[in-house]
Symmetry: C2
Subunit: 351 residues, 2 copies
Amino acid sequence: MKLKIAVLPGDGIGPEVTKQAVKVLKAIQELYKHNFEFEEAFVGAIAIDRTGKPLPDETLQLCATSDAVLFGAIGDPKYDNNPDAKVRPEQGLLQLRKELGLFANIRPIKAYDSLIDKSPLKRDIIEGTDMLIYRELTGGIYYGEKKLSEDGTVASDLCEYSQMEIERITHLAFKSAQTRRNKVTLVDKANVLESSRLWRRVVTEIAKGYPQVTLDFLFVDNAVMQLILNPSQFDVVLSENMFGDIISDEGSVIVSSIGLLASASVGNEKALFEPIHGSYPQAKGKNIANPVAAILSAAMLLDHFGLNTEADAIRKAVELTLEYNIVTQDLNVVRNFGTDYVGDTIANSIL
Amino acid sequence: MKLKIAVLPGDGIGPEVTKQAVKVLKAIQELYKHNFEFEEAFVGAIAIDRTGKPLPDETLQLCATSDAVLFGAIGDPKYDNNPDAKVRPEQGLLQLRKELGLFANIRPIKAYDSLIDKSPLKRDIIEGTDMLIYRELTGGIYYGEKKLSEDGTVASDLCEYSQMEIERITHLAFKSAQTRRNKVTLVDKANVLESSRLWRRVVTEIAKGYPQVTLDFLFVDNAVMQLILNPSQFDVVLSENMFGDIISDEGSVIVSSIGLLASASVGNEKALFEPIHGSYPQAKGKNIANPVAAILSAAMLLDHFGLNTEADAIRKAVELTLEYNIVTQDLNVVRNFGTDYVGDTIANSIL
Ligand SMILES: CC(C)[C@H](C(=O)O)[C@@H](O)C(=O)O
Ligand SMILES: CC(C)[C@H](C(=O)O)[C@@H](O)C(=O)O
């Protein structure tokens, strides 16, 4: 298959881990005779430094003309504690999601047997955990009108949802549940929010078209508790943008390292693949970042184009290196390996 | 001391656990020679059933003329999955908070040594956890304008904050940090929300008046992870209404049973004390609900009026019964005791 892949390494550890993902994709390309074309562009703080914009026009242009985007991470501490910065790295990612129409963020959260004992939770709690979170990604309070009064004493953000925005991701979630354990849990705050009540109505209506799938509801404050108390109860979890951000990050730590978790952001035409760990600036340039999340994001990219055998080959190679404890320091305090070395081992283990 | 206490048992297990809290307050009254006057009123689903309103006028009137409110729980499943119900039990609680000006919800989260092994988290993770969460309670998206378009296809909620609303709770949080470990962590989403950026500006300014207190910032998605990975890093945690709801419920499960956790909601004049567990309808009337959270809420009530010796006496009695394993079924699968019996034991253990 011929694929043009836009590579956006971004900030912090983004470049280091993305490099390993590209390495693995090149190994796949060679073994399975594909034709992958990679082209790099800037995004985030590094893009602001070079062009003044977190998402330069050339970057957006490249993504729009590519089949998929392989994304690293964005964010830099110099912007974090400065509420008055007019331009911020995150805007690049938010704008990219909107411009490419990536309305669904999909995060698999699965307990790896060889890593269960590294979880902060007890073994019997997380054993059997295998869920898929569908987070709405281009609506809600992230994109609603923002206001600051002239005198700077009142600020507001609007959380708005339309039926159409809810419908399209809900169909994806239910379709995916049909290929899994036939269960969807909607996380919201319908006892307080009007927008959550719209979500319940629309999702309840759509559920009727999928009679074999069970639909459950959970208030977000209860959901953050259930994720800790009994994570294996979940199959597909569906949520709006902000609650989805919160529960998917929480979900990521219960199954051990956030350095393992990949995500796909998909729309009707484009798709972006991204490790969920963020830029982790303290580790930048030290060759200690875990490349597995970026590599598993590359596997999700292949799945997206129907290359499931190739995607499985990557996942098997990852599991093998985990079993043999060829891992970065976040996963083993006894003996660690560098980002590069782990990437090489995975690339070389692909069959 | 003479105190008039409005007792609002509410729904589900609310009446059962509130009864134990009143029992314990009566034991204190007798031993320490106080004059507590208790008067009951309806709130929540039971109030809707009887009067059509979740917060009847007489109930509000009683609270307004009392020194403090002892609250049980509200909520009934018959309203939960019905997004079209016009009157809902939660409105009673939300309206009460607003009418009484209870702008700060305060939740202590502390690991009890005798219960650490019952936590879903590993012992070494939660050992030493001792935090106090300050959640803003009368602003933000809970109270902002709610809209539903005529045709029912677009819904929105406004999250709005003013400088004054942020200032008053921030002062409480910093003052309390001064009596503890001198650390405040603000949880927000300042990389996305205008209202969060106002919080950062206002809190940063106020922090200058408390030079001995360190101020930290954490994005909410990171906060839900840190609570699981390293909860003992927190001292005082400060947050807006919705994020505060989420992190305080998450915090409650990491230290074992939600049946142990109390909260105070305070304003400039009034104060309300409430277990955080909610109405738990499945357990209603079975004499299995854990009364400890309600009893510890009564202790917070006494603290609020400067009766610290009496409050400590309650806490010691609770710790004693926990140590002797006189606990309800949520805490011990081997041998359990009823709600009543645990309440009696605590009341009788007060010295
Ligand atoms: C960087 C930030 C704006 C972003 C978000 O909140 O969406 C991140 O947390 C994520 O989940 O991808
Ligand atoms: C019942 C509900 C409206 C309420 C809230 O979200 O404030 C509850 O979850 C709480 O935390 O007291």
